[in-house]
């Protein structure tokens, strides 16, 4: 394609074009706005993506409240709470990373990004332990699912609870893994000094994505772990 040939000539000509300005945009501003808008639209789709599961959750929670309470109490509030703190913390570090990139502090950007990744990894490791616990207690639907005697009568709905638990948290974890991959690339780019106060769009976009993942968890935590903890 001719444009492929045309751009490098332009870009390396040290002319008025910023090296990261793509040929079909007029200004970096236009490019940045387009990217921001695109990212937000993508997050719109993500909201509705998780929304379908929340819909199912809502119906079944009202129908099978007892099963929801029983299922919820099988989850560790300590681990869930710890993970909530970790994830919100990672949102903070991410916000700081974006800020550092915008203000042009390369080392700080890299540092905050690594911090975010460490916290993200912590979350995932804790999640692995939680999942393992569910396997040990036969609370994984489809894998020799069992409930104790007291809940025998609501075993079916409890299985639905755990189906939703695993689908929702599994999808969330998948999003985190994708975010982790994104972050690795961004960190490398930041380390290489690719970002500047004029152009830090990729960091900002990853930030938006990461915060969204955080928001999903903000809803998942009370909905799955805290259905009703009063009494025994």
């Amino acid at each position: 394609m001719s444009d492929a040939a045309a751009i490098p000539a332009d870009a390396h000509g040290h002319g008025h074009h910023h090296p990261d300005l793509q040929h079909h945009f007029d200004t970096l501003d236009q490019q940045h706005e387009a990217a921001t808008l695109g990212m937000w639209l993508f997050l719109v789709t993500e909201v509705l993506f998780f929304g379908g599961l929340f819909m199912a959750y809502l119906i079944y929670r009202v129908w099978y409240h007892d099963a929801w309470v029983a299922g919820s109490r099988e989850l560790s509030i300590a681990l869930g709470g710890f993970n909530t703190v970790v994830l919100i913390g990672s949102s903070l570090t991410m916000a700081m990373a974006v800020r550092s990139a915008q203000t042009g502090y390369r080392r700080a950007t890299v540092g905050w990004l690594i911090g975010t990744m460490v916290l993200g990894l912590t979350f995932l490791v804790v999640k692995v332990f939680e999942y393992k616990d569910k396997f040990d207690h036969h609370h994984v639907p489809g894998f020799d699912f069992q409930v104790d005697q007291a809940h025998a009568g609501i075993a079916g709905p409890m299985q639905i609870f755990f189906s939703l638990y695993f689908t929702m948290t599994g999808l969330h974890a998948l999003h985190m893994i994708i975010g982790f991959g994104l972050m690795s690339v961004i960190t490398w780019m930041a380390y290489k000094g690719r970002f500047s106060p004029q152009w830090s769009t990729p960091v900002e976009m990853s930030g938006l994505y990461w915060h969204f993942v955080d928001i999903v968890w903000i809803f998942l935590f009370p909905l799955l772990y805290l259905v009703d903890r009063t009494g025994g």
Binding site: Q149, I154, G156
Partner: protein
């Protein structure tokens, strides 16, 4: 039946003319608008045609009054259709009080109908003419849909709950039964015939061979075999509530809410008893999911329904000797 030029199926129920009248009305409305627009399009296309690529049309950009007219008028007509159709819809889905009850289950790939007096038939349904008939049905496997084209009614059969259709046949004869919801390999073979008979002939058919006790009596037998009667004592002294005169009432639940004792609730209480426990009782009843099939549930349901006032005594007998097979049921509760 001149099937070649037939464009609507036979009207064989009281619902059919209602549906057809609405159908013809909508045909009238749509034909009017369809023909009007078609004629205008063709007329304009012919009248204003030109072969000169450089010709230009008149500078008309629009007209608010026209826009309003062709938004509001179709909307008003739509509202009329909506209202009329809603009325017919309510007629279709609200069975009259005094209906002849028939139970059915759909399973791949057949319809099994059960009459209250015990007669069961597969892919055939005998009903009397001139009497409202209500078919209560569910599915044992996947979705089906019980469809009587000549009666203009259908409803999906959904595993896990009851649906119902009703009709009042107006013509003696044989009519189609179809499964209208795709259900797998022999979906198109899941068809049958409904035989509408004169009441006398129907009675004769009912009293013919087959049967083996009414549904209620079968239900009563199951009630004993499954040891339901060890807890659901008629005098209310058992570990479960008495079921005498229970159907059609309201029940206070342990969690504070109130539930109507209808077909769905009875069915649910047999299969998943611990989801809605009656106030004042312990959640000790075992689930019968997997132990009884839908037909047995229907028999039990019919038995519970039969326990009204006088007939209650039958159950109250409460033969305390529980069948051994079901005895372990209570132990772990």
């Amino acid at each position: 039946m001149s099937s070649l030029f037939q464009i609507i199926p036979e009207q064989a129920s009281t619902l059919a003319p209602k549906v057809d009248q609405l159908y013809w009305f909508i045909i009238g409305v749509t034909a009017f608008f369809g023909i009007l627009v078609s004629i205008l399009v063709v007329y304009f296309a012919v009248k204003y045609r030109t072969n000169d690529p450089l010709a230009v049309g008149a500078p008309i950009t629009g007209s608010i009054p026209l826009e309003l007219a062709w938004s509001v008028i179709p909307f008003l007509i739509s509202v009329v259709i909506f209202g009329w159709a809603a009325q017919v819809f309510f007629d279709i889905y609200r069975p009259p009080d005094q209906s002849l009850e028939i139970y059915a289950t759909g399973k791949r790939w057949m319809w099994k109908f059960q009459h209250l007096d015990g007669k069961a038939e597969i892919n055939e349904l005998h009903v009397p003419v001139g009497r409202a008939v209500k078919v209560t049905f569910t599915s044992e496997d996947v979705l089906h849909s019980l469809y009587f084209p000549s009666f203009r009614t259908k409803a999906d059969a959904i595993p896990g709950r009851y649906s119902s259709v009703w009709f009042n046949a107006t013509k003696v004869g044989e009519f189609h039964i179809f499964c209208a919801e795709y259900c797998g390999t022999r979906h198109s073979g899941m068809i049958g015939k409904v035989h509408v008979m004169e009441p006398a002939a129907y009675q004769a058919w009912l009293s013919g061979a087959g049967g083996g006790g009414t549904m209620a009596s079968r239900g009563e037998r199951l009630f004993g075999e499954l040891a339901c009667n060890t807890c659901h004592l008629a005098d209310g002294s058992g570990r479960g509530p008495s079921l005498v005169n229970k159907f059609g009432t309201q029940e206070q639940l342990a969690n504070g809410s109130v539930v109507n004792v209808d077909e769905s609730y009875v069915r649910e209480s047999i299969l998943t008893p611990q989801l809605k426990v009656v106030a004042g009782y312990q959640p000790v009843m075992p689930t019968f999911q997997g132990l009884v099939n839908e037909e047995s549930v229907m028999a039990l349901l019919e038995y519970v329904k039969s326990l009204q006032s006088s007939s209650g005594g039958a159950a109250a007998a409460a033969n305390t000797a529980a069948p051994p097979a079901a005895a372990p049921a209570q132990e772990n509760r």
